[in-house]
Structures are given as C-alpha cells and as structure tokens.
Amino acid sequence: MKGKERAKLAAAGCAVGAVNGIFGGGGGMIVVPLLAGTAKKPPLVAHATAILVILPVCLASAAVYLAGGWFDAELFIAVSLGMLAGGAAGAKLLNAISPKAATVAFAAVMFAAGIRMIF
C-alpha cells in the first residue's frame, strides 16, 4: 500500500469517526465503498472487513455515551434481541428480492424519516 492510499484511508477514517461520534452510527456505510475502492478489496471482503473497522470505533463512542449517562439496560436488551432475530431473517430474505428495487424503496423510506425528523 502506497503513502497516498494510506493518507486517503486516514482522511476517510477521520470522516467515519466524526459521523459515528455525532450520529451514533452510519460510519460503516462510508467504510464499505472505501475498502472496495481505495484498498481494492473484493465486495464481500469489503463488507465483512468494514465490520472489523467499525467495531472498535463504535466501542469507543459507546463508552462516551455511557459516560454521558445515556444508557438504558431494558432498551439495550430488548433492541439487541430484536436485532439478532431480525438480522437473521433479513439475511435470508436478501436472496428472495431484487437488491436494486429494495435499495431504492428503502432509500425512499429513509428519506421520508429524515424529512420527518427535520420538521
């Protein structure tokens, strides 16, 4: 890996960290295209390795939110259990639908939720 690529990854890392700290998530969505583009990893490897990159970053920001008094054990347990079950179902469902149509439909829902939060 050349110096220029390292600098690019470090600069992107700064953006990922800022987003993750401010919004409590979303950094992974920036990591995947960078690992595929700049670090030239195949798509599946880029997706898997993005989790490896974002895990310590989330751990660091989670500690800050905990120190700030933002932690609710009941909420955490309920959401985590739901996510594990939903995640397994979603991974299975992925094979049954058209990825492009799903992404566009999903983006529309995200956009609507975003507008709802702005106003």
Binding site: G17, H47, G68
Partner: protein, 131 residues
C-alpha cells in the same frame, strides 16, 4: 409492554440491516419517531446493540475467510480518536438540534444510496454481457 415495543423496533432495524441496508441508521429514526425515545438515547442504544451483532458476524466472516485487515489500522486509529472527540462534543448538543441534524444526514445517505444502486446496476449488466 415497553420491552415488547423495543423488541419489535430492534427486529425491524435488524431486518433491514441484515438485508444490508443502512444498518443502524434505520434503528435510530424507528426509536425516536415511532417509539418516542430521546435522540441521544437512541444513538447510544444503536452503538451498544451493534457490538454483540458485530462480534457474531465477525466470527462467521472469519470462518469463511472474508476478513482482510491489511491497511485497516490507517482508518481505525483516526476514526476511533475522532469518534470519541465528536461523541464528547455532541453530549452538550440539545436533543432537538441533534434530531434535525440527524434528519439531514439521513436524507443525504438516502440520496447517496440511490446513486450507488443506480451506478452499480449498469456495471453488473456489462459484466454479465462480457461473461
């Protein structure tokens, strides 16, 4: 009752996340808009609930040989440092302001995802032809 509502919210977030869409970014609006959870709390629970899920996925990915850590420290170190710094700064931001900013971030991500999907589609077609 409260537990069941949060369980359903987590399942909805996990379902979309498992399909590779948005990951945690969907869980936060589900919790704030639909369940009335404060913005900072929703962001915190998103970070915490990601941890067990990530460990679980990493074990599977490692077994399948899909992890390639070369070059990743160049991202992990500055990202971790800045996430702590901005995490501390955001603790002082008013929930209403943070919620508005999150809404803008969500809209931007939605637009970015649509462009990504539209760009990837012709490339796949081209590849199919050359095969």
């Amino acid at each position: 009752m409260r537990f069941l509502v949060y369980l359903a919210a987590g399942a909805a977030g996990g379902l979309l996340g498992g399909m590779g869409m948005g990951g945690g970014t969907v869980l936060i609006p589900i919790l704030t808009v639909l369940c009335g959870v404060p913005q900072h709390m929703a962001q915190s629970v998103n970070l915490f609930s990601f941890l067990p899920m990530a460990l679980f996925s990493l074990r599977i990915h490692a077994k399948n040989g899909l992890l390639d850590a070369r070059g990743t420290p160049w991202m992990i170190v500055p990202a971790s440092a800045l996430s702590v710094l901005f995490g501390i700064l955001v603790q002082e931001v008013a929930p209403a302001v943070l919620r508005t900013c999150f809404g803008v971030f969500l809209c931007a991500l939605a637009v970015y995802q649509v462009f990504g999907a539209l760009r990837a589609a012709p490339a796949q077609k081209k590849q199919a032809k050359s095969n």
